[in-house]
C-alpha cells in the first residue's frame, strides 16, 4: 500500500481504463454503423424517388453529403480535442486528435471525388473553381499539413501539442477561409437540409440521407476506437498492464 506503487498506476489508469472500455464498446458501435448503412443504402439507392431534374445521378449525395459533413465535423473534433490536450494535457485527447487526422483527410478526399463524379454530368466539368469545392480542397490541405507535422516531430507528445496549436489556428481560419472563398466565387447549389425553416428536400429523400449521416458518424466512431486502442498500446508499451495484456494472448482477459 505505498504511494510509489500507485503513482504510476494512477497516471496510466485513464488510458488503461479507456482501452478496456473501448474494447467492450467497439463491436456495438460497429454493428450500429452496419445497421444504419443497410437501410440508408437501400433507401437512398432504391426507395427514394429520382430527382425531377437530376434523375438518378442525384443519389451520389448519399455518399457525398455525409462525407462532406464528416470532413468538417472531424476537423472540429480535432480542434476540440486539441484544446483539451493543450489546456489539461490529457493524453487520451491527444491520441483522439492524432488518430482522427487521416480519417478526416479520407472523408474530405471522398467528398471531393464524389463531388467531381457528380459534377461531370451536372455542371459539365470535373472541377470548377467554385467556393464550396475550393474550401473543401483547402480543408484537405489543412489535414495534410497536420499529418506532415505529426510525421516531422519525433516525440509524439510534443508532436501532439504542436499539432493542437496548428489545428486551433486552422479552426480559427476555417470560417474566414469559407467566407472569403464564397465571396470570391460561388456556383455550388445552396444548402438544402440545414437552411432555416422547412428543408427543401423531399422527406423520402431526406430520411435515407439522415440514416447515411448516422452510418458515417458511427463508422468514424468505430474506426476511431480501433485506432485509439492501437495508439494507446503503443504509448504505454513499456507499462505492466500492456505486457500483461500481450502475455495473456488474444483470448485473455
Amino acid at each position: 500500500m505505498n504511494a510509489s506503487i500507485f503513482q504510476p498506476l494512477h497516471k496510466y489508469a485513464s488510458l488503461m481504463h479507456f482501452h478496456r472500455l473501448s474494447k467492450a464498446a467497439s463491436p456495438w458501435v460497429a454493428w450500429c454503423s452496419a445497421a444504419l448503412f443497410v437501410p440508408g443504402l437501400i433507401g437512398g439507392l432504391w426507395l427514394a424517388p429520382a430527382d425531377y431534374q437530376q434523375g438518378d445521378s442525384f443519389r451520389i449525395i448519399y455518399v457525398h453529403v455525409p462525407s462532406a459533413w464528416m470532413s468538417l465535423f472531424i476537423y472540429m473534433t480535432m480542434a476540440g480535442a486539441g484544446a483539451v490536450a493543450l489546456i489539461w494535457k490529457i493524453k487520451l485527447s491527444e491520441i483522439v486528435m492524432r488518430a482522427s487526422a487521416s480519417l478526416g483527410a479520407s472523408f474530405t478526399f471522398l467528398a471531393l471525388v464524389t463531388g467531381s463524379i457528380w459534377g461531370k454530368p451536372m455542371w459539365g466539368a470535373w472541377w470548377v473553381w467554385d467556393a464550396r469545392l475550393t474550401s473543401e480542397l483547402i480543408l484537405l490541405f489543412l489535414y495534410l499539413g497536420f499529418m506532415a507535422l505529426q510525421n516531422a516531430i519525433e516525440d509524439r507528445r510534443v508532436a501532439a501539442r504542436a499539432g493542437a496549436v496548428l489545428v486551433l489556428i486552422g479552426a480559427v481560419n476555417i470560417p474566414i477561409i469559407h467566407y472569403s472563398v464564397e465571396w470570391w466565387n460561388t456556383l455550388h447549389q445552396g444548402p438544402t437540409v440545414s437552411k432555416l425553416g422547412a428543408p427543401s428536400i423531399d422527406i423520402a429523400m431526406l430520411i435515407p440521407l439522415l440514416l447515411m449521416v448516422g452510418a458515417f458518424m458511427t463508422y468514424y466512431a468505430a474506426i476511431l476506437l480501433i485506432r485509439v486502442r492501437a495508439e494507446i498500446l503503443s504509448y504505454d508499451r513499456n507499462t505492466a498492464w500492456v505486457r500483461e495484456l500481450v502475455m495473456a494472448g488474444p483470448n485473455g482477459r
Binding site: 499539413g145 506532415a148 504542436a162 496548428l166 477561409i177 470570391w184
Partner: protein, 226 residues
C-alpha cells in the same frame, strides 16, 4: 533595467534588425526573391503589356506571399540553433511580447522591403498609379498579417527536417483569405471599382492576427522548447 512591455518589444526588434544588418547579404534575400519571382511571369506568359497589366496584381500578390513563406524559415532558426530561443522561454519576459516583437521584426525585414519593391515592379508591369496606391496599401496590411500568422507556424516547425517545405505546406492554406482580399482590392482598383471593402477586410484580418497570433506563437515556442 526597466522591464516593461515597450522595452521588451524594442529589445527584440532591435536585436533582429542589428543581426540582419551585420550579415548584410541576408537582408536582401526576400527582396531579390520577390523581384525574381515577378520576373518569371513575363517569361512564362509573354511580354504583352495589356495582358500583363490585367494579371499584375495577382502576380505581385502571389510573389509577395511566396517571399513571406520562404523568409519565415529563418525567423527562429538562428535563435533555435544558438540557444537564444531557450533563454527566451526561461526569461521572465512574457513570451507573447517576444513573439509579437519577432513578427514585427520579420515584417520590417521582409514585408516592408517587398512592399516598397512592388512599386517599381508594378510600374514595370504597366500598372497605373491609382491602382498602384491600392496595391501598396493592400500589401502593407497583408504582409503584416502574413508575418504575424507566419511567426506561429515558423515557431512550430523550427529545426524540423524538411523545414522550409513543411513550413510552406502549413502556411500557404492559411494565407488564402489574405490573398483573396488583397488581390481583389488591387483588381477592383484596376477596373476602376472601389476597393474600400476589401481593404477594410484586410485591416480586420490584420487586427485579428495582432490580437491572436502572438499567443499562438508563444504557445508554439513553449511546446517546441519543452
Amino acid at each position: 533595467m526597466r522591464n516593461d512591455s515597450t522595452t521588451i518589444l524594442i529589445t527584440v526588434v532591435a536585436r533582429d534588425l542589428l543581426r540582419t544588418a551585420r550579415s548584410q547579404t541576408e537582408a536582401i534575400y526576400p527582396l531579390v526573391f520577390f523581384a525574381l519571382c515577378v520576373l518569371m511571369f513575363p517569361f512564362a506568359i509573354g511580354p504583352d503589356a495589356g495582358f500583363l497589366e490585367r494579371i499584375a496584381p495577382g502576380i505581385l500578390w502571389v510573389s509577395a506571399l511566396l517571399a513571406a513563406a520562404l523568409s519565415l524559415e529563418n525567423l527562429f532558426r538562428g535563435d533555435y540553433l544558438e540557444g537564444t530561443l531557450e533563454l527566451m522561454v526561461v526569461s521572465d519576459a512574457p513570451l507573447v511580447l517576444i513573439g509579437l516583437g519577432k513578427s514585427f521584426a520579420h515584417w520590417l525585414l521582409s514585408g516592408l522591403p517587398v512592399v516598397m519593391m512592388s512599386v517599381p515592379l508594378g510600374l514595370a508591369l504597366a500598372i497605373d498609379l491609382d491602382t498602384l496606391l491600392t496595391l501598396v496599401s493592400s500589401l502593407l496590411l497583408g504582409t503584416l498579417t502574413m508575418s504575424l500568422v507566419g511567426a506561429a507556424i515558423s515557431a512550430l516547425t523550427v529545426g524540423l527536417r524538411g523545414g522550409g517545405m513543411l513550413l510552406a505546406l502549413l502556411i500557404l492554406p492559411l494565407y488564402i483569405p489574405i490573398l483573396i482580399f488583397g488581390a481583389a482590392a488591387a483588381g477592383n482598383a484596376a477596373r476602376g471599382l472601389p476597393a474600400d471593402a476589401e481593404l477594410y477586410f484586410l485591416a480586420g484580418l490584420m487586427i485579428l492576427a495582432v490580437t491572436l497570433a502572438p499567443w499562438a506563437t508563444a504557445a508554439a515556442i513553449r511546446i517546441r522548447m519543452s
